[in-house]
């Protein structure tokens, strides 16, 4: 008995003691790759393809960070995390950053000691139901059984929504998207709720996607973005500006096809020059090579390219740009200037 208490304490202490040092960039450079926390499997966002390679919207953005540091989008390893394990994985140093449909909230940014460095997808929580239920609004869901992933903002929003509308529901807590899909398709729950993008992604894998509808209500704001550990601003800067580079590249028409040519000599547009390192020492300010953004765009494309390739209208997931269009095109994607 005494020993088990002792070992228990030891284990907990070990957990807390295994923290990585503050300088993540040095650690990453020393080990030669970036360790990125992603979802366990959400089609279009983070999934492994037939050959076992990770791919998807979040995955590509994580690869962009590897490309910025090492010039190689493949210098990266992925750790699948569930809604529940992701923050512990980041806090304990198991991963260097989190690119996992994670909503930027105040308490996560402060109390959980994370730092959100931007938003890569503006989302909101939605509901998906089988068409056969004949439901057309979330307010008609009184008494329904709802599948939710635990450890998410989803379950908190859901509780608030049903409470505010004075209707009841039966939550079925679930760990991963795959499990939720299985339960939902088996009819063990009437409704699946998560970020609307996740719903669209999940529905695209169904045999008969047309039999399921996503209800019109979007009940929350879910700005999804990358997170790093609190207290390492240098590392946070790199992730933040990698994301900004993807957006700015799209804004100025820099894409994986023309980036080599644009970077070969200074262009007429100074902002493009600063982005691609043909003017100024912007890479060095972050401890990165001069041509870091070139490698990023070359490796994974710009924001628009990533979007179109992984989740855009021409993919099975078929998400429209909507809020995630550039600010110049009616969206709210707006990166600060490279200067």
């Amino acid at each position: 008995m005494k020993t088990s208490v002792f070992l228990g304490t030891l284990a907990v202490a070990g957990l807390a003691a295994g923290l990585a040092g503050a300088a993540t960039l040095d650690d990453v450079k020393a080990k030669g790759f970036v360790q990125c926390g992603v979802a366990t499997g959400v089609p279009g966002f983070a999934f492994t393809d037939a050959s076992g390679e990770w791919d998807g919207f979040d995955v590509s953005m994580c690869r962009a960070v590897a490309a910025a540091i090492f010039g190689d989008p493949k210098a990266i390893k992925f750790t699948p995390t569930t809604g529940k394990t992701r923050f512990t994985a980041l806090a304990s140093g198991e991963v260097d950053l989190l690119f996992r449909n994670t909503t930027w909230t105040l308490s996560r940014d402060t109390d959980l000691k994370l730092d959100f460095v931007g938003v890569n997808y503006y989302d909101g929580q939605g509901f998906m139901v089988p068409k056969s239920l004949g439901v057309s609004s979330a307010k008609e869901l009184d008494g329904a059984t709802v599948c939710i992933q635990t450890g998410t903002t989803t379950e908190l929003n859901l509780a608030d929504f049903f409470r505010a509308n004075s209707i009841s529901y039966e939550p079925v807590p679930i760990e991963t998207n795959a499990e939720a899909t299985q339960k939902y398709l088996a009819g063990a729950c009437d409704v699946y709720t998560t970020d609307a993008s996740g719903l669209a992604a999940t529905r695209s894998t169904f045999e008969a996607p047309g039999d399921h509808v996503i209800l019109p209500e979007i009940i929350s704001k879910e700005p999804l973005g990358p997170a790093v550990r609190h207290g390492d601003s240098e590392w946070a800067d790199i992730v933040r500006w990698t994301l900004n580079a993807l957006v700015v590249a799209e804004e100025f028409g820099v894409n994986s096809g023309n980036v080599d040519q644009l970077a070969s000599a200074p262009t007429d547009n100074p902002e493009v020059n600063r982005l691609l390192g043909t003017e100024g020492e912007y890479g060095a300010m972050m401890g990165l090579p001069k041509d870091w953004a070139v490698k990023v765009v070359k490796g994974v494309g710009n924001y628009g390219e990533i979007f179109d390739r992984t989740i855009g209208p021409d993919t099975p997931i078929g998400l429209a740009r909507g809020l995630n269009a550039l600010w110049t095109q009616g969206g709210i994607l707006y990166a600060p200037p490279f200067r």
């Binding site: 002792f6 807390a16 923290l19 512990t88 000691k113 239920l133 009819g187």
Partner: protein
């Protein structure tokens, strides 16, 4: 230990600490203890420092904040606005529900399978072997998932019960619905007058027990045996039924019916609970079956033959000769099986059952980021459950274990010794001793004491963990330190006293004194006894609590008893 610490030689040299066998063991133990304390302190320090490096503080304030999430299965009032501490209690109760039902089921399954495996019927014996070996050798995790998958995939969704062309139908004449969300059973509804049926039920149980004792005595005197069990069953069933009819059938049944998305009404047992409990019970039952078989086989065959020679029928031989002896072998491993089941219930996570690992150590941990605090509380919970179960089972084992005639030993210091001058000397007797009588004298009163301690414990637990959190009754984590400590002390003391009293253990008296001290401490730190029972003032509760405790202790020590007290302490005049 202490008796070897007296230096008896002419001079004491320091090297005698490790060279002299009189001091060596004490010395080593002291050093070891010191090292363990140092290590624990180092680890704790390390944790606090690392948390600080992360910018996190150690504290339980978050437990008083609204949890924000909903829990499907809740045995007490809970909404998403309740605090994290209430969510933790909901989880704890869910864990206990799996543990208690699982242990009962596992015992039933285990005893049946264990006895059946020894059956002379070849088919039955083989079938049990297949069950036991099959289940024991597959990880329980897989079995839980298997049950969950079967329930999810094989049972129909509620919508399949609907409409003209329903593909599924309810069982047992529209009484039970098995869906891929859970099972719905009819639930009793208590109408006016049902109180008296409950009273009648317990009264007839008392009557049946009394009848059993009477029949036993009669058999001792006259040698005539009555069919005790059927008569007892008749008393309970008949008595209850009579009142049930006289009171105008005050207990009805509420049947589940499909309404909206789900069945409504009746008793809803979720599949997550079913899968977890059944899988754990079957798994643990297989181990218990082996314990039972080992216990029975440990009783030598000669005993059976001797019993047969005396003319005992086989089932009487089993009940009167073999099982009482086999139990001694069965109980100790049974304890650890119960503990295993309780700890394995934390696999609930896998099927989304909201036990304490799902609420406190799951969602609360995740939403607040308080890994260390939540895991600490979770560990404390599992530890106290394990220790409590172990304590109860050890006390029971103490009762049934074989006592050899030469093994009577003293039990060290007891409060009784303080009063030896007044009451006469106390001696330890063991069950087998000739002076040990079947009626334990104070035993009947001890059962009354059990009621007192049980009620006191129930009130304390209810107030500390279950009561709704209001302005006048803040969450435990907002109480003052002294009040928190007093609560813990009282809970521990009450539990220990209750357990020893229930099992007529000689330590009862010492624990009753400890409980008295804890109570006095609580009164001294201003524990809010006034809130314990609605409508009863604090002063009254303190007066009753103090009075009853003093009376119990006084009676136990000075009580005018024949010459036997409880269990195996004897007062010599």
């Amino acid at each position: 230990m202490s008796d070897t610490a007296q230096p008896s030689g002419p001079s004491f040299r320091i090297d005698m600490l490790w060279n002299d066998s009189r001091y060596r063991s004490t010395f080593i133990q002291v050093v070891a203890l010191f090292l363990v304390i140092l290590a624990v302190m180092y680890l704790f320090q390390n944790v606090v420092e690392n948390l600080a490096a992360l910018g996190k503080t150690f504290g339980f304030d978050f437990m008083t904040q609204p949890a924000g999430y909903d829990i499907n299965q809740r045995l007490i009032d809970y909404t998403s606005r309740s605090t994290h501490s209430t969510a933790a209690v909901v989880g704890i109760l869910n864990t206990l529900m799996v543990a208690v039902v699982g242990c009962v089921l596992a015992t039933l399954i285990g005893v049946t399978a264990g006895v059946a495996r020894l059956s002379k019927n070849w088919v039955v014996a083989r079938l049990m072997t297949v069950y036991i070996e099959g289940v024991r050798n597959v990880p329980v995790l897989i079995q839980i998932l298997l049950f969950a998958a079967i329930f999810d995939e094989a049972l129909p969704a509620p919508s399949a019960f609907r409409g003209e062309d329903a593909t599924a139908s309810m069982w047992l004449g529209e009484m039970v619905a098995a869906t891929n969300r859970g099972f719905y059973f009819p639930m009793p509804v208590w109408l006016e007058g049902s109180f008296w049926v409950v009273v009648a039920f317990f009264a007839s149980i008392l009557g049946a027990v009394w009848f059993g004792r009477w029949a036993n005595e009669r058999q001792q005197d006259t040698g005539e045996a009555l069919p005790v069990l059927p008569i007892q069953a008749g008393i309970v069933a008949g008595g209850t039924l009579l009142v049930f009819l006289v009171a105008g059938i005050p207990i009805g049944l509420d049947y589940p019916a499909l309404k909206g998305f789900n069945f409504q009404g009746g008793l809803y047992v979720r599949n997550s609970y079913m899968a977890l409990t059944l899988a754990l019970a079957l798994y643990t039952g297989a181990f218990i079956a082996e314990n039972v078989r080992a216990g029975i086989q440990a009783v030598s065959k000669g005993q059976t033959e001797a019993a047969f020679a005396l003319g005992l029928r086989p089932n009487r031989t089993m009940n009167l000769v073999i099982l009482p002896q086999a139990l001694r072998v069965i109980i100790p491993p049974l304890i650890s099986q119960y503990l295993n089941l309780t700890k394995n219930s934390s696999l609930a996570l896998l099927v989304g059952y909201m036990d304490v690992t799902g609420t406190l150590m799951g969602i609360t941990l995740n939403q607040t980021g308080k890994e260390f605090e939540t895991l600490f509380l979770g560990m404390a919970f599992y530890l106290s459950v394990s220790l409590s179960v172990a304590a109860i089972m050890n006390l029971y084992n103490e009762q049934v274990k074989l006592v050899e005639r030469t093994s009577a030993v003293g039990m060290g210091f007891s409060v009784l010794d303080l009063f030896a001058g007044v009451t006469g000397k106390w001696e330890v007797l063991k069950k087998g001793d000739a002076t040990m009588k079947r009626e334990y004298g104070i035993r009947g009163l001890l059962n009354l004491f059990v009621v007192f301690y049980a009620v006191a414990l129930a009130l304390m637990v209810d107030y500390t963990f279950l009561a709704e959190i209001t302005a006048t009754r803040p969450s435990y984590f907002e109480w003052s330190g002294a009040k928190q400590i007093a609560t813990l002390l009282m809970l521990i003391a009450l539990f220990a006293t209750l357990a020893t009293c229930l099992f007529k253990n000689a330590r009862f008296i010492d624990l009753a004194v400890m409980d008295l001290l804890a109570f006095i401490f609580a009164v001294a730190v201003g524990w809010p006894f006034g809130q314990l029972v609605e409508g009863v003032s604090g002063a009254a509760i303190v007066a009753i609590g103090l009075g009853a405790r003093l009376a119990i202790i006084g009676y136990t020590i000075f009580g005018e008893r024949p010459n036997l007290t409880f269990f195996h302490r004897v007062r010599r005049a």
